[in-house]
Amino acid sequence: MAAVTLDRVTKIYPNGFQAVTDLSLELVDGEFLVLVGPSGCGKSTALRMIAGLEDISDGELKVGDRRVNEVEPKDRDIAMVFQNYALYPQMTVRENIAFPLKLRKVGKSDLHQQVEEAAQILELTEQLDKKPAQLSGGQRQRVAMGRAIVRRPALFLMDEPLSNLDAKLRVQMRADIAGIQRELGVTTFYVTHDQVEAMTMGDRVAVIKDGHLQQVAAPEELYADPDNVFVAAFIGSPSMNLYEGVLRQDGTSGGYTVQLGSQSVAVPESAVAARPALHGHLGQPIVVGIRPEDLEDAAVQPDHPADQRISATVDVREALGAETLMHFSIDATHVDSGDPDALDELGDESSSRCTARLSPLTEARVGDAIQININAAKFHFFDKATHLAIRG
C-alpha cells in the first residue's frame, strides 16, 4: 500500500510562478524517500504542500487512501522537522516533545511514557529538563525529531534538517536519522539540496529541477544509470565530466571510438551493444559523460588498453590522502547540465575542465603532461538535443 501518493501535484503562485509542475510520486509504506535538487527547484514547496503549509494548485495528494488536499496540517497525520529546528524556546525539551501530544489531549501517564520513550531513542534523557537555548545544534535537531516521532505519524517530513549543522555533526546525524527512521519504520519524505545526504539516507531518491521531476530511483541506480544529463551531473561529487563528442564506427575493423575534441578514445563493443539506440547517433554529436573515478593516471595503471587514453596537462592537484583529485583541460566542448548551483566551468572556449579521481600513488604535479586512462566501458551517452540518456 502506498503511504503517500502525489498525483500530478502542481503549485502556481499568485504571481504566476510555477514552482512545481505535475509532480507524481508514490511513497511506499515505511520508505525513506529523499527529494533532492538545486536551490530554487521547488523541492521545499513540494514538501510544504504535503505538510499543508502551502495550497495545492492542481493535482491530488493522498495519505493512505484519503485525499488530503483540503485538510488542515494538524489533521493530516504528518509530523515535520524544520531546517531551523523551530523549537519553542520558552519550553523545556520535555515540554517541546510533549507539546503535540498535549494538544491531542493524550492522558498524563501515556504522555509521560511516550516522551520518555522518544527521549531514549534520541538519547535526550539527560537533557529533558533543559531549555533549547542550552543545547547544541545537534541536540536541538534531536529535540525537533523527538517532537515529530512522539506522535507516531503516518509520515515524517524533513526540510533540510541537517543544513545548519557543522560538517562532522552532519555526517553523524545523517546516520542517526536514517537509523531512527529504520527503527521506527515511519514513511519519510526528506528534502535536501545535498546529494550526499540523498545518496546515503534514501531508500529511493527523487531528483527535481525547476519544479519538474527528473528521475526517481534507488541511489545506486541513480548513480550508475542516470536518466538525463542533469541527474548525471547533479548526483556524484565531483560531478560527472560532460562533453560534446562523436561516436564513430571504423569501416574496416568495426570498432567504436568516441571523438572528444582532438582526441579519440576506443569504446568497447559491449558498451555499444548494451545501448542499441546508439547506432542511430553514429557520426553525430552526442553528450558523452565520464565519472571522475573512471579516469586513472596511466603511470599508475600501465596495463590499461593504450587506445583508451587521452593526454592532458595537470592544472590543479588536490591530494586528499585516500585519493588525489586532478583537474586538467581537454579541448572538447563542455556541456552545461543546467544545475544553477554548479560553479561556472573554468577554461576558455576551446577547452573544458575535466576532473579525475586518481590513485594517491600518482606522481603527477601541476604542469605535468600526463596520460589519463579512461575506463571507456563506463561512458555515459546522452542525446545532445533532449539531454536524455541513450539506452535503447
Binding site: 505538510a51 499543508g52 503549509l53 488542515e72 496540517p73 494538524k74 504528518i78 509530523a79 515535520m80 524544520f82 531546517q83 531551523n84 523551530a86 523549537l87 519553542y88 524556546p89 520558552q90 519550553m91 507539546f99 503535540p100 494538544l103 491531542r104 537555548a133 542550552q134 517532537r147
Partner: protein
C-alpha cells in the same frame, strides 16, 4: 585595553550621565529637605522631612495617588490588549499596510495637548459626540466630576495604544515563521498559537511596554489638565498635583515639589521592582 582609550571612550558618556541624571537627582533629594519658595530663592531653610509630612497628610495627595494607580491598573492592560490585537490584525494585512500604519500611529504623532483639546472639543457644545448624545438623550452632554474620569481613561488609552501596537507589530515581524508552522502541524489552533508561540516571543516587549506605560501614567499631565483645569480636583493625577503644589499661590513651594518628585520616583520603583527583578533573572538564566 589601553587606559587612555578606556577613559577616552567612557568619560564623555559618564560625564553626560552625571550632569543630566545624577546631579539633578541629588539636587532634588537635597531640595526636598528645604523650605524654598519662588519669592525667596536665596534662602532655603532645612526642615528635614517637613515637606514629606505636609504631602503625606494632604488628602488631595492621597486622592491623586489613588487615581494614578487606578489609571495604571485600567489603562495599561487595555493598552496592551488593544495594541496586541491591532498588531495581530495588521500583521494579516498584506497590502497598503503603510496607510493603516500611518492612521494608527496618528495619536502618537499628535502633541498630547493638541490631541486632548481636539478630543475635548468632541464633547463640548457643538462637538460631534456631544451632538450625538444630545440627539439621542435630549439632554446636553455635560462634563461632570462623575464622567470626567472615564473621558480621561478613554483618551489616555487612545493616546498610548499606538506605542504598544507599533512595538508589538515590530516584534511580530521577527517571529520565526517556521515556529508558527511547527505549531500548526503540532495541532495548535489560533489561541494556542497565540499563547504558546506568539506571546512567548513578544514577552520581553510586553514587559517593556508595560514598564514604560506605568511610568507614563505617573507622569500623565497634559491630558488630565486639559480635562480638569482647576476644576474636578479629585480627577487630578500625581503629576498634576505635583505641578499645582510647586506653583501654588504664586509663591511656589519648590521644596515641597521636589519632595513630591522623590515620592513619585519611589512610587514608580515599588511597582517596577517585581518587573526589574524578573527581567534580571531572565537575563541571568539566558546567560547560563
Amino acid at each position: 585595553m589601553n587606559k587612555r582609550t578606556f577613559w577616552g571612550f567612557t568619560v564623555p558618556s559618564v560625564a553626560v550621565m552625571l550632569t543630566l541624571m545624577v546631579v539633578p537627582l541629588l539636587a532634588t533629594i537635597w531640595l526636598g529637605f528645604q523650605r524654598l519658595t519662588l519669592r525667596d530663592l536665596q534662602n532655603p531653610v532645612f526642615i528635614g522631612f517637613g515637606n514629606y509630612r505636609d504631602i503625606l497628610s494632604d488628602p488631595e495627595f492621597w486622592s491623586a495617588a489613588r487615581w494614578t494607580i487606578l489609571l495604571v491598573i485600567i489603562v495599561v492592560p487595555l493598552q496592551l490588549v488593544l495594541g496586541l490585537t491591532i498588531a495581530l490584525l495588521l500583521d494579516r494585512v498584506k497590502r497598503v499596510r503603510s496607510i493603516y500604519m500611518a492612521a494608527l500611529l496618528m495619536p502618537m504623532v499628535v502633541t498630547p495637548v493638541v490631541g486632548s483639546l481636539v478630543y475635548k472639543d468632541l464633547f463640548e457644545r457643538g462637538g460631534l459626540i456631544a451632538w450625538i448624545w444630545e440627539s439621542i438623550t435630549d439632554d446636553p452632554f455635560l462634563v461632570t466630576s462623575g464622567n470626567v474620569r472615564w473621558l480621561i481613561i478613554i483618551q489616555l488609552v487612545w493616546a498610548v495604544t499606538p506605542f504598544a501596537f507599533i512595538t508589538f507589530f515590530a516584534g511580530l515581524q521577527t517571529l520565526p515563521e517556521d515556529r508558527v508552522e511547527a505549531a500548526q502541524i503540532d495541532g495548535a489552533g489560533f489561541w494556542r498559537q497565540l499563547w504558546h508561540v506568539t506571546l512567548p516571543h513578544l514577552r520581553t516587549l510586553v514587559l517593556f511596554v508595560a514598564l514604560i506605560s506605568i511610568m507614563d501614567m505617573y507622569r500623565v499631565y497634559d491630558q488630565v489638565f486639559v480635562w480638569t483645569g482647576n476644576r474636578f480636583t479629585d480627577a487630578h493625577t500625581l503629576a498634576v498635583y505635583n505641578v499645582r503644589t510647586a506653583t501654588a499661590f504664586d509663591i511656589g513651594r519648590l521644596g515641597k515639589g521636589n519632595a513630591m518628585s522623590i515620592l513619585t520616583v519611589i512610587g514608580i520603583f515599588v511597582v517596577l521592582i517585581p518587573f526589574l527583578y524578573r527581567s534580571y533573572k531572565d537575563q541571568i538564566a539566558e546567560r547560563n
